[in-house]
C-alpha cells in the first residue's frame, strides 16, 4: 500500500515536472501549424463539430510561456497593449475582457481580429505560437501556475514579473 502511494506520488511529480519543463519546439509537424477553424458559437445544424481546445497546451509549460512572452514583443503586441497595460488597445493584465478571457476566446480573438482595431493574425502566426501567446496573455493576469510563469525580463521594469501576479479571474464585460 505504502509502495503504491509512493509510486503514484512519484508519477504525479514526474508528470508535473515533465509538463512544466518540457521544451516542445519540435512537437508540431508543419501540417499542424495551420490554425484550426474557430467558431464563436457552439450551435451548429446537424451534428456539432468537436470544439476547439478549451485550454492552451502551454498553460503550465515554462518554455511555451517564455516563447509567448518573446512573441508578444516580437509581433509588436506591445504597440497597442503596452506590456499588458493597454493604450490604443485594452489592458490585458486586468480582469475585464470585452470578448472573453478564457483561453479559447483569446485564441479566437488573436486569429480573427476584433472590431475597433485588433488585427486578425490568421495565416500570419502559426497555430502553436498563437497558443503560446494565449498562455502568456493569461499569465499577465496571474492565471498560469506560478512556477511556470515567466519571471522578470532583462529589461526596464515596466510591471511586476508575471510569476508574481495575483490571479485575476476574467469577467466578460462586452465593453472596454
Amino acid at each position: 500500500m505504502k509502495t503504491k502511494t509512493l509510486i503514484v506520488a512519484a508519477a504525479l511529480i514526474w508528470m508535473g515536472a515533465c509538463n512544466r519543463e518540457s521544451r516542445r519546439y519540435k512537437e508540431l509537424s508543419p501540417a499542424d501549424a495551420r490554425p484550426e477553424t474557430v467558431k464563436l458559437s457552439t450551435l451548429q445544424p446537424g451534428k456539432a463539430d468537436p470544439p476547439v481546445n478549451k485550454t492552451s497546451p502551454y498553460q503550465a509549460n515554462a518554455y511555451g510561456l517564455s516563447e509567448g512572452k518573446r512573441l508578444f514583443s516580437a509581433y509588436n503586441c506591445n504597440g497597442c497593449h503596452a506590456m499588458g497595460g493597454g493604450g490604443i488597445g485594452p489592458a490585458l493584465m486586468d480582469d475585464k475582457w470585452i470578448y472573453g478571457g478564457e483561453p479559447d476566446q483569446i485564441y479566437s480573438t488573436i486569429l480573427q481580429g476584433r472590431p475597433n482595431g485588433m488585427p486578425s493574425f490568421a495565416g500570419r502566426v502559426p497555430n502553436n505560437q498563437v497558443w503560446q501567446l494565449v498562455s502568456y496573455v493569461q499569465s499577465m493576469s496571474g492565471n498560469t501556475p506560478e512556477d511556470a510563469a515567466p519571471s522578470r525580463d532583462d529589461d526596464l521594469a515596466a510591471k511586476k514579473p508575471e510569476n508574481r501576479e495575483r490571479p485575476r479571474r476574467p469577467k466578460q464585460t462586452g465593453h472596454r
Binding site: 521544451r23 519546439y25 519540435k26 508540431l28 509537424s29 508543419p30 501540417a31 499542424d32 501549424a33 495551420r34 518573446r70 516580437a74 509581433y75 495565416g123 500570419r124 502566426v125 502559426p126 497555430n127 502553436n128 505560437q129 532583462d154
Partner: protein, 314 residues
Amino acid sequence: MGQAIQSALNPTGIQAARISDLYWLMFWTSTVVYVAVLIALTVAIWRGRRSDAGEPSRATAAKWVTAATAISIVTLIGLLFASVATGRAMGSLSTENALGIEVVGYQWWWSVKYKNPTPSLEVTTANELHVPVGRPIAISLKAFDVIHSFWVPNLHGKVDLIPGRENLITLQVDRAGVYRGQCAEYCGLQHAHMAFNIIAEESDAFERWLTAQRTPAPPPSSPELTSGLAVVERGPCQMCHTIRGTTAGGRFGPDLTHVATRSTLASGTVPNTPDALTSWIKDPQHIKPGTKMPSTGLSEQELQALVAYLQTLK
C-alpha cells in the same frame, strides 16, 4: 598545420598572425621546459635503479632547486613580456579610415549592419560580413539577448557580446578569401549552429557589393514569383523578417533583402541551395532544433513559389 579553415594557426589577418607567433614561441619554450623536467626526473630515478645512491646534500639540492626556480622565473618573465608586447601590437592597429560595422548577436544568428553617417545608406544583412582587404574594420559588438562571442580564428581572437555593453573589435584582413567564424560563448540550444562568414575581397569588389546591398528587392517578374511575394507579404514571413522593397518589415529575424547572395543559411548551418532552403523553411526544427523560426505549415505550392521568389533576392 595546413589550410585548415577556422584555425588559429592559419592566420590571414595581422592580429591572428601575431598571436600565432606568440603561440609558437610559447609552444617551443614549453616543449624545452617539459623535456628538461622529464629528463631531470628520469636521471633522478635512474641513479637509484640498483640501490639507493644516497640523498644529495642539502646544500647541493637547495642549489639546484633554486637554480631551476630562477630559470623558471626568468623564462616566465620573458613569456610575460612577449605576451604584453603581442597585446600592445594587436591594439596598435590604426583605426583611420576604418570601416564601421555593428554586429548584434541573437539566439542563434548574427545581425550585421554597415554604419554610415547617412542613415539611408546603411546596409543591414545577416550572418555574413563582406570586408575590403587591407583596410581596418571596426566592429562594434552588441548582444540582444544572452552573451555571445564573435570569433574568426583566422583573423583575430574572440570578443564577447554582452547585453548592456558595447564591445569593440578591430580587424584587418591581408588576403582575399572566405573566413569562417563561430559563436564562442555558450548561448543556449543552438550555440553549435551559430556560425558566420567573413568574405574579404578587393576594395572595388567590396564597394560594388555594398552598393548592390543598398538596392531594394526587385519586383516579381512572373506569376510564380508574384505568388511567392504574396506568401511573404500575406503570410508568416513578414512577422519576423524584413525584405526592403516589400511590406515585410519584421525586426526579429535576419534581414532577407539579399538572401540569395549569401553562401549559407541558418547562420552557417546549411548551404544556400534551393533544396536546402526548401527543407529549412518547411521544417526548421528538424535542421536546427530549438531555433526561433517556427514551422509555418505552407502548402507545397506555396513553398515552391516562396523559394523561387527568395532566389531572386540577389
